[in-house]
């Protein structure tokens, strides 16, 4: 099985504003997605690896050693403040390790020059808890963003976006603005944006954390079905019961910044899209 991500003794120091401390209340920064009721959530600051604060801050992740394989659905669980978002930030190249080594798609990224990060990021799709849709762009334009960034020709973008919207059941809502959608629909769009460029790795940070249970089930199915056989999905959730509903997923359990039982279940393929999500 192909290894696409390799953590070796990775540590990550806490950087101010990147993740709330356990039990902390959400910060005052408003979410970049718009909606009927703006919800304040902490927005991770993107921090350069040479952030001077990092030298003295405590480690939010410590001694992480794990390999992630192609085509596997990983559930990253742990209590609030365990370091799930930080772990996903490393995977999404939002932050880089402060010690250890991290290989992504065969590249050691810890000291990779900044200029080489965009090419790697284009192989990664990200779904945030709040969607992070650009509020002034329509649904279709939001979904098209990764393809525009990649420089695809407009007709190819149109085709890919139309196909993706049809797959998530929103073909007739391409012109809608995010603010007019429900929270669940916005997350569907965010998931479609993460998958539209056919990334090798999709990182989802509690994508169903702000929607009702029915919408959450729908989002879970989308995460399991929109990729192809080689797509790796890492989804953070504080709800370890999802593990029982995704029997072929592999669990990664974080607690106080350390990974526990990384081999709790052998790697398995992404859930069968035809299989209904257990109630």
């Amino acid at each position: 099985m192909t290894t696409i991500v390799q953590f070796e003794n990775v540590g990550l120091r806490h950087a101010t504003g990147t993740e709330p401390a356990p039990g902390a209340q959400p910060g005052p920064m408003s979410v970049p997605v718009s909606g009927p009721v703006p919800v304040p959530v902490p927005v991770p600051a993107m921090v350069a690896p040479d952030d001077p604060d990092s030298d003295t801050a405590p480690e939010v992740l410590a001694d992480i050693t794990v390999s992630l394989h192609a085509g596997v659905f990983y559930l990253l669980t742990g209590p609030g403040g365990a370091g799930k978002t930080s772990f996903l930030d490393l995977l999404g190249l939002v932050r880089r390790p402060t010690r250890g080594t991290l290989h992504l798609f065969g590249e050691e990224v810890t000291a990779l020059p900044r200029a080489r990060l965009p090419a790697l990021r284009r192989r990664i799709g990200m779904v945030h808890r709040d969607g992070r849709l650009l509020p002034h762009l329509s649904v279709a334009q939001n979904v098209a963003l990764p393809l525009r960034v990649a420089g695809l020709p407009p007709d190819e973008i149109d085709r890919a976006v139309a196909g993706m919207l049809a797959r998530i059941g929103m073909a007739d809502q391409g012109h809608a603005l995010p603010a007019t959608l429900s929270a669940g629909a916005r997350q569907q769009v965010a998931i479609a944006r993460a998958f539209v460029a056919r990334p090798a790795l999709v990182v989802a940070d509690e994508p169903a954390g702000m929607v009702d249970p029915a919408a959450a089930d729908r989002l879970l199915v989308l995460l399991g079905t929109l990729g192809d056989d080689a797509t790796t999905v890492v989804m953070a959730t504080h709800d370890s019961r999802l593990f029982t509903r995704l029997p072929r997923a592999r669990m990664l359990r974080l607690d106080r910044g350390r990974l526990h039982d990384p081999a709790a279940r052998p790697p398995a393929a992404i859930p069968d899209p035809a299989a209904p999500v257990p109630a």
Partner: protein, 284 residues
């Protein structure tokens, strides 16, 4: 579906405010530059016309000899006796109308206006005159015009300060405006960065937008300043005073004024572009 809308929402009101501020600063810089150039022109006129001019006072009895000596001296362009009628007119404020019949020539020395081709020749001419005529007084025009020349020099410094202040403020304002524009869109930048956008891709919309804003501000400020300066310059050129007419702008001055808004705009754009690069480096 349109695949190519702006990644970031535009803020037309903010752009207009920045353009208006830049326009005002460019206006001030151009007017101050024109003022400085005009003052410099006056100073040059003063130097040229008065620096090599003197008035020689000699007893009337030796006036003819002094005049002949001056006209025979190399470096003297012109030596002209001040005629009695002119002297009477000059003295009328002190003597009144009753003084018209006074024998002016017997009461005051004869006066000779002298123009030299070079002020540097003056000491040699002065020595020669004093050697030939025992009683003589030489008034150099540049001495009694020295306070005026000093004032003109000070006015040039004032003008330079008035130019430098907006010239220094413009790049600072453009850079800070760009920093704030990026910070306001920090969340969207983070999203697009995470999608794999390069700094160049992200910077492009900001860079070209600031170019438009700065050029608009520079154009408005420049046109506004010229609209005021052209008629003022025309009026200055028609005045009878040599000193004031010297302030009229020469073609080279107009060229400087035309280049100034372009230079200030380039300064602002460079500062803004540098701010974009620095901020994107900090944001991701």
């Amino acid at each position: 579906m349109t695949p190519g809308p702006a990644w970031f929402p535009t803020e037309a009101r903010g752009d207009r405010a920045l353009a208006a501020l830049l326009a005002m600063l460019v206006f001030v810089a151009i007017v101050a530059t024109a003022f400085g150039l005009g003052v410099a022109g006056s100073a040059r006129t003063l130097d040229r016309q008065q620096g090599a001019r003197l008035t020689v006072q000699v007893p009337a009895a030796v006036a003819g000899r002094a005049l002949g000596l001056l006209r025979a001296t190399p470096g003297v362009v012109r030596a002209t006796p001040v005629d009695p009628a002119t002297l009477r007119r000059l003295l009328r404020p002190w003597l009144g109308e009753d003084g018209a019949g006074l024998p002016i020539a017997a009461l005051i020395p004869a006066m000779i206006d002298v123009d030299l081709d070079d002020a540097a020749a003056l000491p040699a001419i002065e020595r020669r005159l004093r050697g030939a005529v025992a009683v003589i007084r030489i008034d150099r025009a540049d001495r009694w015009l020295a306070p005026v020349a000093g004032l003109l020099r000070r006015l040039q410094w004032v003008a330079a300060a008035l130019v430098l202040l907006p010239a220094a403020a413009i790049p600072v304002i453009a850079g800070r405006a760009m920093r704030h524009a990026l910070l306001r869109r920090h969340d969207a930048i983070a999203v697009i960065h995470a999608l794999g956008a390069t700094d160049r891709q992200l910077a492009a919309p900001f860079r070209w937008r600031i170019v438009g804003t700065v050029l608009a501000g520079a154009a408005i400020g420049g046109i506004g300043a010229l609209a005021i300066l052209v008629p003022v310059d025309a009026a200055v050129a028609t005045l009878g005073s040599d000193l004031i007419a010297g302030a009229a702008l020469a073609p080279r001055d107009w060229a400087v004024l035309a280049v100034l808004p372009v230079a200030l705009a380039a300064l602002a754009i460079a500062a803004a572009w540098r701010a974009v690069a620095a901020m994107l480096g900090r944001l991701a």
